[in-house]
Amino acid sequence: MESEYKAIMIGGSAGSFQVVCKIIAALPADYPLPIIMCLHRLKHVRSGFVEALSIKSKLPIIEPHDKEPLRNGRIYLAPANYHMYIELGNRFSLSTEDVINHSRPSIDLSFFSASYNYKRKLVGIILSGANKDGALGLKSVADGGGLTIVQDPKECQVPTMTTASMNATKVDHIFTTKQIIDFLLKLT
């Protein structure tokens, strides 16, 4: 069955690593939609993150280069110390503009561009995190007609990001990690 969505974007910060690992471990090797992740990370530690996630994943995990075309069935991770955008025409573009909310990559900026590109065909998910980056981004997904999900704050190691998102917009679903996984599997 053709999904009504074209992409899934996930934002997370402190406390999200384990959740992300569980989610990607649950996805089958033929998962058809692209998963685009913007996670806060240490700016100078370029290597290691992809490798750590790859151990769990049946899908290839890629830190996109600038202007790299986005393909289905892959998991993308915003590279360290760059903002990551989706441009019209489904290419990534990167930028070194100023940090926003102390963050580069900025989850808000990634979500803004994905929402502009995919409109109602986007699923936005915000996970555990210790700042409010991502809240306006998730609102832009809602404003564009896309579907919004936050990890249940009760389950989050640090609920600041999910709470801020819920304050910024009326989210469609508040899900535990298990429910997020079930939802993603049912999407296709």
Partner: protein, 284 residues
């Protein structure tokens, strides 16, 4: 967010009132930068266009605001380590080494390069050229003065590249900061030493022109995190220009997450983090 019609008007205003042409910049990032100027100055797109047309200083300032000037001393230490251990030693026995910093911003990359060259005993034979689209950042680069508190990570980067050896953890190089710059904590300033500031040849230059502003072939061209703001067509044009102005076996160094996607790719051999110009048969 600013409308596509307004973006078209802004692009046209730049083209009419100056030689700046942003039409092959990446749409979304250009729109975002212009949007930020409108928000920061609390002006409408129409008023912005009017001011671009009538006020040259305002136009130059807007170019400065549109272009992104993020840089650091030894930004991305791994790149500098590769340069130190893999690339620069290849030029050890050459009489000269010509280096172009394209899109040099406020100069931190140039100073990093000169410090490294000096430690490797290659400073005197190096010729350093640096360009940017933006006169104000070139002036900043020439003075070599940077904030201290805001840039504490410069020292961490310096230590990683200049004092430690990742291939031999027991080896430590004793390179004092004062050899290259003075830190005045009271004035909150890092000041590069005079012998460094005087060396580079600076020139204002817009990569969109697609030409080499110097009468030189280069051994090394650094253009890091500049062409990410260009669309694929302009990226390819610029990379081709670099290929045409690099000596054979010269190196093109892009930002950590940049790569050559278009036809220009055939001129280069990809190495870890670098592109080396291949020997090719001339088509003319």
């Amino acid at each position: 967010m600013i409308s596509n019609d307004d973006i078209a008007k802004v692009l046209a205003a730049f083209k009419t009132a100056s030689t700046y042409d942003f039409s092959d910049y990446c749409d979304r990032s250009f729109a975002r930068r212009v949007d930020k100027i409108l928000t920061d100055n609390k002006i409408s797109a129409d008023l912005f266009v009017k001011q671009l047309m009538s006020d040259r200083d305002f136009l130059e300032k807007s170019v400065r605001d549109i272009t992104v000037n993020t840089t650091e001393l030894f930004r991305d230490p791994q790149m500098w380590l590769n340069l130190r251990y893999q690339v620069l030693p290849r030029f050890k026995d050459k009489p000269t080494i010509k280096i172009w910093h394209a899109g040099c911003s406020s100069g931190q990359e140039i100073y990093s390069m000169m410090i490294l060259l000096n430690e490797l005993g290659m400073f005197d034979k190096a010729q350093i050229f640096a360009t940017d689209i933006n006169t104000a950042v070139i002036e900043a680069a020439q003075t070599g003065t940077y904030k201290y508190m805001f840039n504490l990570n410069y020292l961490d980067n310096f230590d990683k590249v200049m004092r430690e050896n990742p291939y031999n953890f027991e080896q430590k190089y004793d390179v004092p900061y004062e050899k290259y710059f003075d830190i005045d904590k009271r004035k909150d300033v890092i000041q590069m030493n005079d012998f460094l500031c005087k060396k580079p040849v600076f020139r204002k230059h817009d990569l969109v022109s697609g030409c080499n502003p110097f009468y030189h072939q280069f051994d090394l061209i650094l253009c890091r995190n500049v062409i990410i703001y260009f669309n694929p067509k302009l990226q390819n044009k610029v990379i081709n220009m670099f290929a045409n102005n690099l000596s054979v076996n010269g190196f093109l160094i892009l930002g950590a997450s940049e790569s050559i996607l278009g036809s220009a790719n055939s001129s280069f051999e990809r190495m870890v983090g670098f592109y080396r110009k291949k020997q090719t048969i001339s088509m003319f």
